[in-house]
């Protein structure tokens, strides 16, 4: 698989995962499930970090940290911020796909 095809595939995976994780985090928070909130935020943080989506990564990390500390009441105020970052990131993906040059992004291990 060439680098361009690989990054296209990773963007697809990220788009799917980000939407799923966003919904899951909201549901877990609503249900008061700190453990699952932390686990899902951690997964989203990792996926975002892999693709240099720093905004998503930073907010997801804050939610994970708070959930691990068991203070998810405060997290409800951050969820809107996470949604905003995810939306912003996904809106950028079409641009990233067209502007991406496989060689430069892959050799740094990051893209987008």
């Amino acid at each position: 698989m060439g680098n361009t095809a690989l990054m296209g595939m990773l963007f697809d995976k990220f788009e799917k995962q980000a939407r799923e994780n966003m919904t899951q985090i909201s549901d877990y928070l609503t249900a008061g499930d700190a453990v699952q909130t932390a686990r899902t935020s951690h997964a989203l943080k990792g996926a975002a970090g892999a693709l240099s989506a720093w905004g998503v990564q930073e907010v997801a990390a804050r939610i994970e940290h708070a959930a691990r500390a068991g203070v998810i009441d405060n997290v409800l105020t951050v969820i809107a911020e996470l949604q905003q970052e995810v939306d912003r990131c996904l809106a950028y993906l079409p641009t990233a796909r067209t502007s991406f040059t496989g060689e430069s992004a892959f050799t740094t291990g990051r893209a987008a």
């Binding site: 698989m1 690989l6 990773l10 996926a47 240099s52 740094t108 291990g109």
Partner: protein
């Protein structure tokens, strides 16, 4: 060599997999600790690149489980993690991890860390190669059976015991113990240079034949000298050479080939001397039956300060039960021992 990449995150797993595949590695993947553990214990991979946080086992938990298994090969374990706190790294090391790489990872760094792991695993391959070389030399002598396996185990037990003796504590450390286990099978490697008419002589050797047989000590040392000239600092070659050259020396100076005495004989040679003689006494030969442990023990006690270093004999007496265990574990088949 196959590398197992474990990450519940599809994107990271794909990135690591692609990076390693592009560097020419054969990569297997698993998305959780359970699946990974099954693949590792099935012997599917020699190296693991594992995420830290996963459903089921975490990376360190998986590593601990792998380390507690009696696997035939060492598994080189790299933990990939966003955890960069010192206490977390300590936890990873305590679990048995060999190396770490931070997320997001740099592909060039990952490739180099995998290469470093391959060098470590190659050392294990080298250990196997050394033993195979010794077995090859031994294969010309049909009577020796599991001799090498027993001698290396006796040597390790003696070295472990001596490491607790103040007089030897500076010299006998973990590396010494590992090296003597690794290199003691080379003690008779010089026998490859002994003619069949002497080596395969089923009876007792006459004086002339015995003089020829005695040359095996220097022949072995010279063989390893050739390797040492190319790799002068390699410790296993140094110890292997000392053992080959000195395992027939005697504490009283009446051994061969150099007639060294006392502490002029390297400690490794003094240890192998006792282990080799104990095994010869307790094994059957065409010209003699196997002696019992008690007879071998009394022979060794009688030769303390003559043939053997008294400190090594004292250590032997403290660990004689472990000698018996080793002898039983590596007993010859009945057809040979009867």
């Amino acid at each position: 060599m196959k590398i197992l990449v474990i990450d519940d995150n599809d994107i990271y797993r794909t990135l690591v997999q692609t990076t390693l595949t592009s560097a020419g590695h054969e990569v297997l993947t698993a998305s959780n600790g359970y699946e990974a553990f099954a693949r590792i214990t099935a012997g599917d991979a020699r190296m693991v690149v594992s995420d830290w946080e996963m459903p089921g086992f975490s990376g360190p938990e998986l590593c601990s489980k792998v380390r507690s298994e009696d696997l035939p090969n060492y598994i080189y374990f790299i933990l990939v993690s966003g955890h960069d706190q010192p206490e977390e790294r300590v936890a990873g090391l305590a679990a048995g991890a060999d190396d770490f790489i931070a997320k997001p990872f740099n592909p060039a760094e990952l490739i180099e860390r995998v290469r470093a792991g391959e060098r470590i695993l190659a050392m294990e391959t080298r250990d196997v190669a050394i033993f195979a070389m010794a077995k090859l030399a031994e294969s010309r002598d049909p009577e020796t059976g599991a001799h090498l396996e027993r001698v290396r185990s006796y040597c390790r037990v003696l070295a472990q015991e001596l490491s607790g003796v103040k007089k030897f504590s500076d010299q006998v450390d973990g590396e010494f113990i590992r090296l003597i286990y690794l290199t003691s099978p080379l003690h008779d490697i010089g026998k490859v240079g002994i003619p069949d008419c002497v080596l395969l002589n089923p009876g007792r050797l006459n004086d002339r034949e015995f003089e020829i047989m005695k040359t095996h000590a220097m022949l072995g040392a010279e063989t390893l000298d050739a390797a040492l000239r190319t790799f002068p600092g390699v410790k296993f070659l140094q110890m292997g050479r000392e053992i080959a050259a000195t395992h027939h020396e005697r504490w009283n100076g009446k051994g061969y080939p150099a007639g060294l005495s006392g502490e002029n004989i390297p400690l490794c040679g003094r240890i192998v001397a006792l282990a080799d003689v104990y095994d010869a006494l307790t094994s059957k030969r065409v010209y003699k039956n196997a002696f019992s442990h008690d007879i071998a023990k009394s022979t060794i006690i009688k030769d303390s300060g003559e043939h053997f270093d008294p400190d090594v004999v004292a250590a032997f007496l403290r660990v004689e039960n472990r000698f018996l265990e080793i002898r039983d574990r590596h007993a010859e088949p009945l057809a040979i021992a009867a």
